[in-house]
Symmetry: C2
DNA sequence: GTCTATAATTCGATAGAC
DNA sequence: GTCTATCGAATTATAGAC
């Protein structure tokens, strides 16, 4: 249940998100954001408490989306292969619906300050652990090749990490179905013994 | 033929590189760098012309290393499968010898300013094009699956992009041979028809 | 909600003595 | 090569009138 947000604030949040994605968080000044909205810097503080809080909002929101998704996968009765397919699908669905936030998740998280930085890194480690569990199960049940768990988990996570770029800087050609089909084939073939 | 560099300057460049990797380019101030060296800010300008020039040095150096490597692969008589293996090997070798510069290549390039930013992005596009050519050849000769060329090129490049992390934040456990073996198996199995 | 004005700090970089 | 001192610009954020 998302909080009710005024259309004006929503527009500010959307525009700021795109601008931070394009220029980077540190390089985007409050003046830049105000100029984009056509008003003065001080008006920004009608909508948010600080630049830092703005980044936190974007990052923790999309981070929790990923957690919700992978929890559903983990709690399902899928076998490891089906779970891995669902994981690729989750990534593409979330990325296609919120590409700029996923971009921040990849590139801008390090601009958080403690204690939020630590909170974020811990939460991300939890997500990666959930991925690791799926892969571990796949290896143990001999659906997946006997990889080193750390290496293959990083490789799988990294394989989907570019997808936001497909939607932010490439959108006109983006076909989510084809993307999911091909990326699934690449990753599953790389991971599975018989596929 | 690298220019002769004083030991003092070399130490400054090495320490600065690590610090920029750890804190990020924008978040690392000239004062931070001076403190790390135990002298005053103004002394930095004995070694470099500007903060911007420092970043350019790191990025274009490692960028050219990748070009040199992939040019050797491309000019070889290897078939596409062998070229792809050599490409994974190139990535791991360069990353293990210059992990922090590879880290900047992944995370900090966007802090360049024009005209250097455009120059860098163009040069990177040339590198990606060279990778694309290898994959295209593999698909045409039916060693590789009939993937969409753009998608699979991005996926392959992304699959190795996390490796710097293995050496910068993880070094004690890093075994380059095992890493190369496993990552090669993952990527080649994902790409090849019979492997 | 929008503005003007400005506080308070931090940044990269330079001048010039030793 | 190292220091002190400082400049000028840019930054986030706030105060207070309308």
């Amino acid at each position: 249940m998302p909080l009710k947000v005024s259309p004006r604030k929503k527009k500010f949040l959307d525009e700021s998100l795109k601008m931070i994605h394009e220029k980077g968080y540190k390089a985007t000044t409050m003046r830049d954001l105000a100029d984009r909205m056509g008003f003065e810097v001080s008006n920004i503080y009608n909508f948010i408490d600080s630049k830092e809080a703005l980044l936190e909002t974007y990052l923790f929101q999309i981070s929790e989306d990923f957690h919700t998704g992978i929890d559903h996968i983990q709690e399902s009765s899928y076998d490891p292969v089906e779970k891995m397919k669902a994981l690729v699908s989750l990534n593409i669905n979330l990325t296609s619906s919120k590409p700029y936030q996923v971009g921040l998740l990849v590139n801008e998280w390090r601009n958080l300050k403690d204690p939020k930085l630590t909170e974020f890194v811990d939460r991300r480690a939890e997500y990666e652990e959930k991925v690791r569990v799926i892969i571990k199960e796949g290896i143990e049940k001999k659906h997946f090749r006997p990889f080193d768990l750390d290496i293959i988990t990083h490789a799988v996570l990294s394989s989907v990490r570019w997808v936001y770029y497909w939607y932010t800087d490439h959108a006109e050609e983006a076909n989510p179905y084809e993307l999911e089909k091909q990326l699934t084939e690449f990753i599953l073939s790389g991971v599975c013994i018989n596929e």
